[in-house]
């Protein structure tokens, strides 16, 4: 158990963290900006992977693959949005319904071209598809092949894009929808349409992230999105707890979310490095996230206690 081993594992954590960070930014949009808990992401993450896998194995360009995955993610978000706004189903349930449906859809997407019509797992071996955008294989190298460079670039561009978008008139309107629905309506904003658009953008980003993940890990599996919402929320909250006092700018806050995802993966790496039983991995992850969630509450309790102390002596 030596420190150099932990350092060796850092690139892997950073790379995976950056990919999940993209997903977490999508979760941030629905969770914090629109104030909706969107459970579609467990499904749309795998959908992104499925779409990318099918396109890449059929010889298409990986950039095209991730772009199409983004578009399909938009569609998934639209479905949840329409269930919620047109059919009056509460947002959480709408997300669950879409996620449920996406399981079958993902099997079908991955089964395109097979005679069974559905497939649970599509391999994307880096040996075969050498032009994939990111791969687990190169995470230890210092060359430009290292997925970390591309992922950093994508993250920065994405944050810039989101910063621009939410600063436009339309984007400001979307923020109002989440900030105060009644006021948004009173200012002439179509809150139903805004909700659908927000869900679409969010799930588009999640699917995009799933497409990258499938390439990174070398396969797409229909269960690869399970637990994605937990990771996304954990990243958002960890980012908030640590950085939000410092980062007031919207763009920097999105960066904080991405860093939150990296920290989450670092925690997992440390758990593995400590040699703790991986059977307990989920328990430990839950503990860590709970600790982060409790920090703001404890901080405020601590300051109240200090105040009490002051009054007593005064």
């Amino acid at each position: 158990m030596n420190i150099s081993q932990l350092f060796n594992q850092l690139p892997g954590a950073v790379a995976q963290g950056l990919i999940w960070g993209i997903m977490a930014i999508g979760v941030y949009i629905t969770f914090r900006i629109l104030d909706i808990a969107d459970l579609t992401v467990d499904g749309s993450f795998a959908t992104g992977g499925a779409v990318a896998a099918i396109l890449i194995t059929n010889g298409h360009n990986p950039w095209l693959a991730v772009f199409v995955a983004f578009l399909v993610g938009l569609a998934a978000g639209a479905v949840t949005g329409l269930l919620h706004t047109c059919m009056g189903i509460p947002a959480i349930l709408s997300g669950i319904l879409t996620q449920l449906a996406l399981y079958s859809v993902n099997l079908r997407i991955q089964g395109i071209g097979t005679d069974l019509g559905s497939r649970a797992n599509v391999p994307l071996s880096v040996n075969k598809y050498k032009d994939m955008l990111v791969s687990l294989r190169n995470v230890g190298s210092f060359s430009l092949n290292n997925p970390i460079w591309l992922l950093l670039l994508i993250t920065v561009l994405l944050i810039a894009l989101m910063y621009w978008f939410f600063g436009t008139e339309y984007g400001c309107g979307l923020r109002a929808v989440g900030a105060n629905r009644q006021m948004a309506r009173a200012q002439g904003i179509n809150t139903s349409a805004g909700t659908v658009v927000g869900l679409m953008i969010s799930n588009g980003l999640v699917a995009f992230s799933g497409a990258l993940m499938a390439q990174y890990q070398g396969f797409s599996d229909v269960s690869m999105g399970r637990g994605a919402i937990v990771i996304g929320l954990a990243a958002v909250i960890i980012g908030e707890v640590i950085f939000f006092k410092l980062f007031r700018n919207f763009g920097l806050r999105l960066l904080a979310v991405s860093i939150g995802a990296i920290l989450y993966y670092l925690v997992i790496q440390v758990v593995l490095w400590l040699g703790l039983n991986t059977d307990d991995l989920k328990l430990l992850t839950a503990l860590v996230v709970a600790l982060f969630l409790a920090m703001p509450y404890w901080k405020s309790r601590l300051s109240i206690r200090k105040l009490k102390g002051g009054v007593r002596h005064g």
Partner: protein, 269 residues
């Protein structure tokens, strides 16, 4: 001034929860016409239908039957956000009219686009910022130096003043004020009320103001209506208002409704 019809309600009915134990006939044949420049105060007991009438105009719910026209347009079929193009609204809850997590200039920018399509134009220009500063300075609340403060940091009175400004930034056809000083302390309420009077006068707005305060109802505006059980039972014009006192008003009410009005809230000054 030309007598253009700004608001027309004709025989409007609305029942909530029909056919259940909590059924309530909130609007029972309300007819009301407002002309351009009218400033009408609305009073009545709890459950009289005052706020319901305002919400009906704004489009929070659809009417069971009746005609609703704003500035000559039929709006009964339009959803709330589409009617917002013609309306300015201030709510009773100071938190309702502004977005706490966004800053002052962003709130004002949102209000200035009310009814207009929102495109991908970015940010707030220097001209717009100067305009906002000017308008905020006129409120005399020190907000003009805090354009980038989050609205959540402001007091209730400041938020109501801001909501008022937002409601009138883009001149509305009709201003709806729903007991907008009820949640404020007397001093701030007075400030907001005088602001209201000033803005309406300066911009020649048509306004409908619900209040629980009979004294204010009589003092403000050129017309006062009293509602009871979903109907308008009293309609006083400017001259009648001038000669009316609160006691007279109460007596009139008893005569018309046949009830003793035992509502402390309305009597408190």
């Amino acid at each position: 001034m030309a007598e253009t019809e700004m608001l027309m309600l004709q025989d409007v009915h609305k029942t909530f929860n029909p056919g259940t134990a909590t059924e309530k006939k909130a609007l029972n044949g309300v007819s009301l016409t407002l002309n351009s420049g009218d400033f009408v105060t609305v009073i009545g007991g709890n459950g009289a239908g005052k706020s319901t009438m305002l919400n009906a105009i704004a489009g929070t719910f659809h009417l069971d039957c009746g005609i609703l026209r704003i500035a000559g347009r039929e709006v009964a079929h339009l959803p709330e956000y589409k009617r917002a193009a013609f309306l300015g609204r201030v709510f009773q809850d100071p938190n309702s009219g502004t977005a706490a997590s966004m800053n002052i200039e962003e709130n004002l920018a949102l209000a200035s686009r009310r009814g207009l399509p929102r495109g991908l134009r970015w940010g707030i220009t220097a001209d717009e910022r100067a305009r906002y500063r000017e308008k905020l300075a006129a409120l005399d609340l020190g907000l003009e130096t805090r354009l980038s403060s989050k609205v959540g940091l402001l007091s209730g009175g400041q938020r109501q003043a801001l909501t008022l400004l937002m409601a009138t930034l883009k001149e509305p056809e009709l201003l709806l004020l729903d007991e907008h000083t009820a949640a404020l302390d007397p001093k701030t309420a007075e400030k907001v009320l005088s602001l209201t009077r000033r803005l309406i006068r300066e911009n020649h707005l048509t306004a409908l103001m619900v209040t629980h305060n009979m004294k204010d109802a009589l003092a403000l505006g050129n017309r006062t209506i009293m509602m009871h059980e979903g109907r308008i039972i009293l309609d006083l014009n400017a001259e009648q208002k001038q000669h009316m006192t609160v006691e007279d008003l109460l007596a009139q009410f008893e005569k018309v409704s046949g009830l003793e009005l035992a509502n402390d809230r309305m009597l408190l000054v």
